[in-house]
Structure formats: C-alpha cells, structure tokens
Symmetry: C2
Subunit: 497 residues, 2 copies
Amino acid sequence: MSSPQAWSDLTTILRDLEAIDGAAGVLGWDQQTMMPRRGGAARGEQMAVLARLGHERLADPKVGELLDALGKSELDAVQKAAVRNTRRHYARATRVSPALVTKLAVAQSDAFEAWVQAKQRSDFESFAPHLEKLLELTLERARAIDPSRHPYDVLLDEFDPGTTVASLRGMFARLRSGLSELIRAVATRPQLPYVDARFPVDRQRGLHSDVARALGYDFEAGRLDEAEHPFTVGLHPHDVRITTHFYEDDILGGLGGTVHETGHALYEQGLPLDWRGTNVCRAASFGLHESQSRFWENFVGRSLPFFRWFEGRMKQVFPETAVTAEDLYRAANRVVPGTIRVKADEVTYNLHIIVRFEIELELFEGRLAVRDLPAAWNRRYQEYLGITPPNDAEGVLQDVHWSSGAFAYFPSYTLGNLYAASFGATLQREIPDLWSRIEQGDFAVVLGWLREKIHRQGHLNDAPDIVRGVVGDRDHVEDLLAYLWARHGALYGVTRP
Amino acid sequence: MSSPQAWSDLTTILRDLEAIDGAAGVLGWDQQTMMPRRGGAARGEQMAVLARLGHERLADPKVGELLDALGKSELDAVQKAAVRNTRRHYARATRVSPALVTKLAVAQSDAFEAWVQAKQRSDFESFAPHLEKLLELTLERARAIDPSRHPYDVLLDEFDPGTTVASLRGMFARLRSGLSELIRAVATRPQLPYVDARFPVDRQRGLHSDVARALGYDFEAGRLDEAEHPFTVGLHPHDVRITTHFYEDDILGGLGGTVHETGHALYEQGLPLDWRGTNVCRAASFGLHESQSRFWENFVGRSLPFFRWFEGRMKQVFPETAVTAEDLYRAANRVVPGTIRVKADEVTYNLHIIVRFEIELELFEGRLAVRDLPAAWNRRYQEYLGITPPNDAEGVLQDVHWSSGAFAYFPSYTLGNLYAASFGATLQREIPDLWSRIEQGDFAVVLGWLREKIHRQGHLNDAPDIVRGVVGDRDHVEDLLAYLWARHGALYGVTRP
C-alpha cells in the first residue's frame, strides 16, 4: 500500500471516529442538561450502540495494517503524531480480549452499585471484594495492553500519555512535603473571613455569561447551561458547551466553577482545526486540560486584580452589595484542611490527590491489600493534612472513580496544577504588565498566549513535551510552591522559611 | 437457521437501528433548538456518519437472509408486521444502486441550492432543469425498488404504506369538488373578524405548557422548546420533544402550533413500548401521524368548547384581555383563500394539497412537462381556489419539498385531515358527552380513546387497516365535508345544498 493511500484511508476512519465521538458528546451533554426524566433508559441504549460502533471502526484489523504501512513511511509531524496517537488507541481497543472487556464492564457496573450502597452505610467491607476484583481485572488489562511496562504507566497512558510513575513519584513527594510545610505555617495564623452574603441566582446568570465572554469564550461556538455537576463537552472546536451551578449563598463557588469550565472550553475552542480528522486536533492530556481550567480558575480567577475587575461587574448586577474585591480575594484563598477532596481549597487539594496516587501505586505494586485501605487512607490524611476522616464515607469511599474502574486518573488533577503554576510563572515574566491588564479586564493577552503555546499544539506532542516547549526546564513543583506561598502565605502573613 | 434464532438475530439489528435513529433524533433536535451558530458543519458530519452506519446495518445481506428465513416460518402478528416493515426498509436500502444514491444526493443538494436562489428571484426557469433531473432520478429509483408497481405507489410507500394512487385519486377528486362548493358558499357571506390583540410572549410560554399538559402530554417524558419552524421529535416513547413558536400579535397562530405538535407527541408517547426493537413500535404512517396532530389542532383545538375552557386559562394569565372564547372561535375558523399553503385555513388547506398531488401524478405519469408546471399550477389555483399567484415564488416555488426530492409526501397532509374527520365523527357517536367534557378541560376520554384505538397499535397494521378497524367503512371524504360544513358553514351562515 502506498503511503498517501494508507494516510487517506486512515484519516477516513479517524474522521468517522471524530464524528461518532461528537455525536456521543451531544447525547451525553443532553442527558445531563436537557433530557426529560424518563429518557434515561433509551439514552443508555443509544450511547452503548454508538460506543460499540466506534469500537468496531477503531478495532478493525485494517487500522493495524494502515498503521504498519505508515510506520514504514516518510511522515510529516502531523502524520507522525496521528500514527502515534492512533497506535495507542488501537492497542487499547484490540489487545484486550472481548471476554476481559465484558468481565470488566460487569465488574464496574457491580462495583458502582456496591459503592453507592457502601458509601450510604459507610461500610467499606461490603465494597472491598468488588474493588479487589476490579483491581485484578484492571491489572490483567494493563498487562494485556503492554506486558513490558509498569501497569500503572500503561493506565496513565489513557489520561496523560507521556507521564510515568517515575516522574510522578519524585514530583509528588517533593510537593507533599512542601505543601505540608505551608499548611503548618498557615495553621499558626488566624483564619481568613468568608463572604457571608446572598446573591439571587436569577441575577447571577447574566454575570457568569459576562465573565465567560470576557475571558474569551465564544458563545457563537458554545453555550452555558446549568447542571448538577458542572462539566464541559467539546463536540468540535466550533461547538464547545459549558455548564455551571449557581449558589445563592456562595457566589464564589459558582463563579469558580464557571471560570474553571471556561478554562476547559477555551482549550477546546482553540484546538487546531486544520488537523481535524487526524487524531491530532484534540487535547494532549487530561492533565494539560486541567492545567487550562485551573490556570483560569486559580491563577487568574482567584487573584486580586481579577476580583478588582469582577467587582465592577458584580456591582452593576448587584448594586446593593457591600462585598468588595478584597473580601472576595480573602475568601477565595482560605486554607481549610478537610477530609473531602471536591471541597478542598487550592493549597490542600493536591494532598488529597497525592494520598490517592500513593495508595493506587501501592495497590498496583502489590504493597497494599484492599482490606488495609481504610487504615492506609486515614493514616495519610492524619500525616499530610492533620485530620482523620470521621468515617469511610467521608474517607476512602468518598470518590466515585475507583468504583467505575478509573485508576491512575487522579494524578491528572495535580499535574494540571503543576503545569498551570509553570505557565503562570512564565507568563508573568514574559508579560510584565500582566496583572494590570487583568485588572482592566483585558484577558486577550493571556488567552492569546495560551492559544499559541498550548491550544494550537493539539496533540502533536505529548503533554510533557508541550509544556517543556513553553516553559523550558522549569521545576513545576517549585513553581507551584512559590506561587502558593506568595499568594496564600502573604494573605495569612507567613513567609517561606 | 431456526425461526427463533432468526427472530433473535433480526431484533438485535432492529434494536441497533432504533438506537441509531434515536441518537440521530437527538442531534437533529439539538441542531434546531440548542446548537450554537457555528456548530452546523460538525453536526452535518455527525449526522451523515450516523446515517451511513444505520444504512450499513440495515443493508447488510444478513438482514435479507433473516427475512427469507422468517418468511418461511410460523409467525405471530408482531413478528409478521416486523418482517413486513423491515422488508420494505431493506428493499429501499438495497435495491437502489450506490451510484444512484450518490447521484440523487448530489442532485438534491444542487436542486435545493437552486431552489433557494430561484425562489428569491421568482425565477422558475433556473430551477426547472434541476427539477427535471430529480424527477428522472426519482423515477429511476422507484423502478429499481419495484418495477412492477406504479412509481408513485412505490414513493407513497415511504410515507404512507398501504395507500395507493388508486385510492387517493378517487378521494381527492370528490374532496376537491366538495371543498370548492363550500368555499363558493362562504365567499357570498361577510368575512369573520380576526382577533386584534397583543399577548406578551413571556406570559404565553406558561400558558402553552399548561395546554399541552392538560391535553395529556407527559413532561416527564418530553419538553417544550422554541424553534423557528415548530416540529416534534420522538426519540423513544419516553423522550418525545415538542417545539413551538410564540407570536405576540397572533395568539391563535402559536397556540395552533403547540396543539398540533402536542397531537404528534401524544401519538409518539403512546406507542407500544412492549414492541420496541421490532420495527412495530413506531407510527404506522405520516398520514396517520398527521391525523393525530390535526385532530387535536382542528377538531378539538378549534372547537367552541375548547375555547371556552381555554378562555379560563387565558384570563388567569392575561386578566387584562377582553378577548372571549367566541372571538377566538370565529377568528380560528375564518376561511380565506390564499396562495400560500402553510398560511391556509382548515377548509382551503386541502385544495393546496390536491393541486400538488395532481401535478405530481401528471409529472410521474409523463402527462406534464416540467417547463409547463407554472401554468398548470396557476390554472388549478384559479380553478379550485379562485385565485392566481402573483408570481412563481408565491406559486409553484413556494414549498421546499420538491427541491429536496420529497415527492408523494404532500398527500399525507390531507390523508391526516381525512382520517381525523372520521375519528371525530366516530368519537362523537361513541362519547355522547364529548363536548361538555372538553369544555370542562377533561381531555382524558379523548386521549384514552386515541391511545387504545391508534397509538397502541404502533405499526402492526398499515394505516388504512388501522383506520378501518377504528371507524369501519366510513367515507372519510363525506366525514370531512360534513364536519367543515357543520363548523365553518354554520359560522358563515350557509347550509349545505
């Protein structure tokens, strides 16, 4: 087969897969925002059929032949990336036996049900056998995909290709001790005040749209709706939808969600359209995606200049409020160690992730038995955060991830924070008037920088390489710690030793 | 192959097709109600891929083998209907060569573009060659599907299986002369007044939802949104969505649309769920579907008892209005011959359809050349409606149907009115207190009757057989004429000779 022919045939298949993914994305978005209550069963069938059709198309032996033919050809950079990305997807779709796929699907479904029950009753015992089964099958799956690599590396490939246990282990250990140091210092100081004010939801709506638009979100290529759990779905760079949730008594909670999802959406809207149909016009990793949402949510969206700009908008909509930019800034940057990851502040959040990463790694390396999980969990929470969960529901059972078989997913959250910190440090250096621009509501320079350096790269390179291209050999852990000490340390009146 | 095995294999495929149809339905609904402006191109790709995957699944030779095996087996009623319905779909999917399918798709796309231009400039000449091409290819397609039948009968099969040219020709000729008689009589009388009042749109919304709910529409299995051109989409009986359009200066226009779409939706919500996955849990025909929308829109929704009930609801929402039930009743039943089908009243509407049917038939029987279309069109409008279109844009170029290759589609509209008239006549006889119930807002007896007699039949039998089972050998033309004379004749003060 000639190389141009193989490339043409491969992209025909990749275009189909993109269309099927996009269709599935519409169905998923609709399910969480628009679907009538009784529509769930039919929607499940529709999504299952689309998933199967997509899998059949990807797992077609012809894809393997095309990849082999292209592997022996002279390729340009986009073609090389397309082959690399598709090779990974193809391996996951074909090396796992249908029998194992079915066993995993059944085990995940059973484990999810068991987890819902177990969490309600805070009864880890009843969930343990399901988790053991899932771990065993997930390990079997990782070995089937690539027996030559660390199974956790194989799992990481699905979320953050290019990232390895070896790189995470070192970064996370240093981050852990650095964060503990900051938390201990902050704990010696009086707590910062919270914003105790109500903002009627009906007026918050327009304000959130204004903020998303000001950051650069294109409403001609997207929309903002409400959902129980905010999320973003990118169906195509010209159709990227965000959702949020409004809280009358927590304007910052809702705003943070909107800015976070806007960050995800700006990445999706900025992907390189010229490379559609090649498996390269897509985000490079979950961690890099999260770096975009966290960058906007935290680095920009929790800064004092941002709140100074936001105060003006807020007072147009809520002229009666006495809340100031400084009030919002302090409240948004409170450090409050707790047991629940999704409620954690920016400083303690990463310790929640590190606990999970360390435990996952011990489980996959056979150094920890499932039955010993609660003890291992609680010991780490006490050691890293100085707090012990009152029960397993608020401890080891709190997250849905493991029950649905998503292992090696958590690290992406902290990778996002690490990358975002280095982006922030680099951006501050490259754009000296960054903060005065933000205070004036001029976000274009920030978005332009991210567009050029990250969004338009698509998945041409893996995330670690993209990040290196942008920030050089910066130490992400040091960047994150320096940023947190500078912002939170200053607010609490502590300085780094 | 054993019959149980063949049935099991067939229903596996049919379930997939239903899921793909449902997914495509979500995409279509989203496109018209939610999709951001720039999402169109990606949506087109997604829908094209779903259509192709569905076609591949249906046109699989295995389907032919399964149908053959089942054709030789003992089958129950549902299985027989499933085989009959699938045989029709399979024939259409397989007997037309891929080359012809492509030629038709290209011709339709070109013709649509040409029609948009031609309509803007009222220039039939520029559209004529496209229409000629489409007719030629459509005839070729009909012959490929079944060379032994009248090509128009083959085309009718797609919209109203069981209905034939022979049956339409007779009914439509009698209806035409009966309607002309009524229109001539009405024209001798003073015109009825219109409702000249404004109703703010924001308050109309809740009113429309109330009306749909009162008629029996289940909002747990559906939703009401706004669209430029109202439509209903049934993704599954538990997810049936209606759309409408509100007009500040035309409360009846919007209300009629909502009640019309609710009629469609009640049919879809009432389909026999037990038969999902068999190709039988679906509407029996476009005409029968239209009978449901027209029955609610016209027979119920333009009756005086309905408006008496509605007046109470309206005055709760618009306490300031002086408009009465009688005002609405008169305005909703004005007879005003015009040139535009979609603006036509209930009496003249069917003449618009009959013009199109007669012309289509002459075209397909080679008795009329495309270049002579405008003259044939205008002559009939003058003869049947007493009015000549001022130009082709408001005449032969007004509808999109032909430009997209939809021939033999129009008759379904009038079939719907004919069926609805016989349903109305039968219902009035079977439920003596029908109108007093409706005046009290008790629509359950009407819906219950339609559910049992029509909705729950799905596509077990073809529409003409379903209708015969409900109303016996009633003369639909006579039922429609009697109903129109009774309502419109009475309002205008004329009696049937």
